[in-house]
């Protein structure tokens, strides 16, 4: 049963990553396979994560408390995300200021990916700090 769940997660990951690869390749027919394989390989990790969340995680995870919103983990989450929101505003504001002053040109996709990575890392660090303080 456990192997089946992992297999289902793997298949889900392959299907999603394959779909993303095909979609990416279709926008550049000259190098269809190269683009498709690179995008499929790059997106396999998160795609497998979706499968893992759908098939592996629910049966193995502990049942959440009845009143999640009154648990301290919810409080940590709210504090980390709200704190991160202001961090993102600050970073985006300062970054825009620097780009305007230096007249450096950057691709929008690069800036957005950097912002997403920063936001994830910021929330993760804030949440971990709050959890460790409570330990």
């Amino acid at each position: 049963m456990r192997v089946r769940r992992h297999l289902a997660a793997l298949v889900t990951g392959l299907v999603i990553a394959g779909g993303i690869g095909l979609l990416a390749g279709s926008f550049w027919p000259e190098q269809f396979w190269l683009r498709a394989v690179v995008f499929a390989a790059g997106s396999f990790g998160p795609a497998y994560g979706v499968g893992w969340l759908a098939f592996v995680f629910p049966p193995t995870a502990d049942a959440p408390p009845v009143r999640v919103e009154e648990s301290i983990e919810h409080d940590w989450w709210q504090r980390s995300t709200s704190g991160s929101f202001f961090d993102i505003l600050t970073v985006a504001g300062l970054g825009s200021c620097v780009l305007a002053l230096t007249r450096v040109e950057m691709a929008a996709s690069t800036v957005l990916v950097a912002l997403i990575v920063f936001a994830f890392a910021d929330v993760g660090v804030r949440f971990t700090v709050l959890r460790r303080r409570a330990a």
Binding site: P65, V66, R67, E70, S71, I72, E73, D75, R133, A134
Partner: protein, 65 residues
């Protein structure tokens, strides 16, 4: 906020997990409450008081917050 939650729990011989289940919150919530590092919401404070058959101010001491 300072409280005597741990004493009341010990008197009843309950584990932190048992108390957490009764209150519908996580065990970590009970740990943080007992250490005084987490102030409960009003509904949770009412449930704690009801569970121990007392008033909220019998369990929690706002003067030491």
């Amino acid at each position: 906020m300072r409280n005597d939650l741990a004493d009341r729990r010990h008197q009843r011989g309950w584990s932190q997990g048992r108390l957490a289940d009764s209150l519908g919150v996580s065990r970590q919530t009970v740990i943080s409450l007992e250490k005084g590092r987490f102030d409960p919401s009003l509904p949770l404070a009412f449930r704690i008081a009801a569970l121990f058959g007392c008033r909220i101010e019998d369990v929690f001491d706002p003067a030491d917050g």
